[in-house]
């Protein structure tokens, strides 16, 4: 699925008709995994920019593609990273945390499988890009994101927001899975290999899953049956 010209989607924190089988508003307050298959269009991305692949708005939390400023000779570096905020000093202060992997840009690369997992008890966030993995341990607790929406292809797209804070993504995203569980490496590999068949298995506690194969002009179907379809942004309803 090509993300360009500002295209992005959101998942509200509640299904307005009560047609959800599991809630996802407090997903970041527990164990969770965001899993995507994507291929950023590094050429089209502006230097020194950061693009939301899957993120919650506000004090952003999620997966981002980043591009460094241009170096001498017009070269740049590419990164896949995560960003999140934590409350420290009993909520008196908030700190931003980040973690990233350098990406060797390879035009023949099909796409990257990227995941962000949160282990609540260990206060650890893991970034996985392909087979590579990094983690970060934080103090305090993640800020409350329960009112924030999940965005795909941006960090947010509310019309009131300045454009530079929307962090629009350019490139392909072929799979998005939001899980209320820390997925094992093996599970992630299976999902990436086998697609929806494994991705919607209830034992993985899916919250919303799509490979973008079912769409209407306004929505992308949540194949997990949990009731959290993706809604296109940029219309009167955003």
């Amino acid at each position: 699925m090509k993300f360009e010209n500002g295209l992005c989607y959101f998942i509200k924190n509640k299904n307005k008709y009560g047609l959800e089988r599991t809630s996802i508003d407090y997903i970041t307050s527990n164990d969770f995994t965001f899993l995507v298959k994507c291929k950023p269009d590094w050429e089209q991305m502006k230097p020194e920019s950061s693009s939301g692949i899957v993120a919650k708005n506000g004090m952003h939390i999620g997966l981002f593609a980043k591009k460094s400023p241009l170096y001498d000779g017009g070269k740049y570096s590419s990164f896949i990273g995560i960003t999140f905020w934590v409350e420290v000093d009993n909520g008196e202060d908030k700190d931003i945390k980040a973690l990233s992997w350098d990406i060797e840009v390879d035009k023949d690369q099909q796409s990257y499988s990227i995941s962000m997992s949160h282990l609540i008890e260990e206060k650890t966030i893991i970034l996985r890009v392909g087979e590579k993995e990094k983690h970060i341990v934080y103090d305090g607790q993640l800020v409350d994101y329960s009112n924030a929406w999940i965005w795909v292809g941006a960090a947010c797209d509310f019309s009131e927001y300045p454009e530079e804070h929307k962090h629009k993504y350019v490139g392909d995203i072929d799979f998005v899975g939001i899980y209320k569980k820390v997925l094992s490496d093996r599970t992630i590999s299976q999902i990436i290999k086998n697609g929806l068949k494994d991705a919607i298995n209830p034992k993985h506690k899916p919250g919303s899953v799509t490979d973008f194969s079912n769409q209407t002009p306004y929505k992308v179907k949540d194949e997990s049956g949990m009731g959290h379809n993706l809604t296109i942004s940029g219309y009167d309803w955003t």
Binding site: Y17, G18, L19, N57, P162, G225
Partner: protein
């Protein structure tokens, strides 16, 4: 305050302003009604349903119908609506009393914080503008209603499984031949109709109520906001054609009229073609504000044909397309009587109607979504409601509601095409109601009746339940084995 908090504040404020717009309207209407009397409701004046084949009427669908006096309509044809009985209820309302026949609303008002239909109906655009006028009327005064539903006849070529002889001549024939069904309540036995004087007048016979209607009609027509013809099958009634011809003949037609006609779209081809010609002419000449066809189907294909005996599904679907293609401004609403037999394949109807919405969506129409799916759940006969099914079917209905949500428009507006809030909420409500079943003796009796009814249905009509509904074959066998 962070940018995000500011945004959230703005969004919350916007949401609250919408809420307050709506609730302020209803709050204000309730205050105004209560200032006249705690039982005052404009619908008693502004709305009426006329069952002319029975000579019955009621204002608002909650109270039971009552008999129209032939003597009254001989003197005053508007007594089809302005019956002495109804005027006495209006008197009660104007004197601050609550008519007992309106107890549905009193129950809501006394036992919840919700607004009752008294408030909603009085707030409608066909009611509210007339508030002051009605408040100051003498209770004896005649009043032309603004929202009228009329059935001229029970002539109908279908005998839908949940329908009754008073609404269908083919049902009447069957009951006359075979009697009531062997359910514990003798489904569709006609003796109660005789007792309640609800035996319909045959279309070929003289009908004083229809005669009174035509005397009243020229005076009524220009006051109408909404006029809807029900039945029977309206296309089989000469009076339906009379109404269409009347509208076509007017030098100064009521161009604000919202005209609705029910049809099973199973009438002979020449009638469908004639219907299309009339609609086109009425629309091309701008003789009504909006033309809505209310048609009916309860699921997809062969299963829909079983539920609505007489229906040929493919022909029905062709007729829907024929009308929508020929009449670029018409709106079509599918009135679904969602029942136990709708459940297995309703998702196909959801997909089918969604395709129609896209195929015929156009800004020429009053709504861009040219087709609507109105999923109302069957309550009577109780043996055919969704509640009789085993609870393993509940999830299927939930998935159907989810499918409608996926195919919905995020914001209901003329320019977007897809399912609306109301269409989704109706099926969600149906699901909630389905789940509220109580596994008691009554449910067992309903299941017993399900078995008895469809066993007899197959015998009388030559249908095959198990072949048509393989998904429900086991359940059918179970219901047939129940001993009360």
């Amino acid at each position: 305050m962070t940018d995000d908090n500011k945004t959230k504040e703005k969004i919350d404020k916007r949401k609250k302003s919408h809420e307050s717009d709506e609730s302020t309207l209803y709050y204000d209407v309730k205050q105004e009604l209560d200032a006249k009397g705690c039982g005052f409701c404009l619908a008693k004046w502004t709305q009426t349903t006329l069952h002319l084949q029975l000579g019955h009427t009621h204002s608002c669908h909650h109270p039971s119908t009552h008999k129209i006096s032939e003597a009254e309509i001989a003197r005053n044809p508007s007594a089809l609506h302005n019956t002495r009985y109804k005027k006495l209820r209006r008197k009660e309302m104007l004197e601050g009393k609550r008519p007992s026949e309106c107890d549905y609303c009193w129950n809501v008002e006394d036992n919840s914080e919700r607004f009752s239909d008294r408030v909603f109906k009085s707030a409608e655009s066909w009611s509210k503008p007339h508030m002051d006028e009605i408040k100051n009327l003498d209770w004896r005064a005649d009043y032309n209603p603004r929202y009228v539903e009329v059935a001229f006849s029970n002539a109908c070529n279908f005998k839908c499984s949940y329908c009754a002889p008073q609404f269908s001549t083919t049902w009447m024939e069957e009951i006359r031949t075979h009697g009531g069904y062997p359910t514990t309540d003798k489904f569709n036995d006609m003796s109660h109709m005789v007792a309640e004087k609800k035996l319909p007048i045959a279309q070929k016979d003289y009908n004083p109520y229809v005669e009174a209607f035509w005397k009243w009609w020229p005076d009524l027509y220009n006051d109408l906001h909404t006029f809807r013809i029900t039945g029977g099958e309206p296309l089989l009634s000469k009076d339906t054609w009379g109404v269409l011809d009347f509208i076509l003949e007017q030098e100064n037609p009521n161009r604000d009229l919202q005209l609705g006609i029910n049809s099973n779209l199973g009438a002979p081809d020449q009638l469908i073609d004639k219907f299309i010609d009339k609609i086109k002419q009425i629309e091309d000449e701008g003789r009504v504000r909006e033309f809505i066809i209310f048609t009916s189907v309860d699921t997809w294909g062969e299963q829909a044909e079983y539920i609505r005996n007489g229906l040929q599904f493919n022909r029905f679907w062709d007729n829907v397309n024929k009308i929508m293609e020929a009449c670029p401004r018409v709106i079509m609403t599918f009135m679904v009587t969602y029942n136990a037999l709708s459940v297995p394949n309703y998702h196909k109807l959801i997909d089918g109607v969604y395709d129609l919405k896209h195929l015929y969506g156009s800004s020429d129409r009053y709504w861009n979504s040219a087709v609507f799916l109105d999923s109302s759940y069957l309550r009577f006969p109780s043996h055919q409601t969704v509640q009789v099914l085993e609870d393993t079917w509940d999830d299927t209905v939930f998935q159907q509601a989810q499918l409608m949500d996926y195919l919905s428009v995020p914001l209901f507006d003329n320019k977007y095409i897809g399912y609306s809030d109301v269409e989704i909420q109706k099926i969600k409500r149906l699901y909630d109601w389905m789940k509220s079943r109580t596994p008691d003796k009554r449910l067992l009796e309903q299941r017993y009746n399900f078995g008895k009814y469809f066993e007899e249905h197959d015998r009388r009509r030559g249908t095959d339940f198990k072949k048509t509904f393989p998904e429900l074959a086991g359940f059918f066998e179970y219901t047939k084995s129940i001993k009360l």
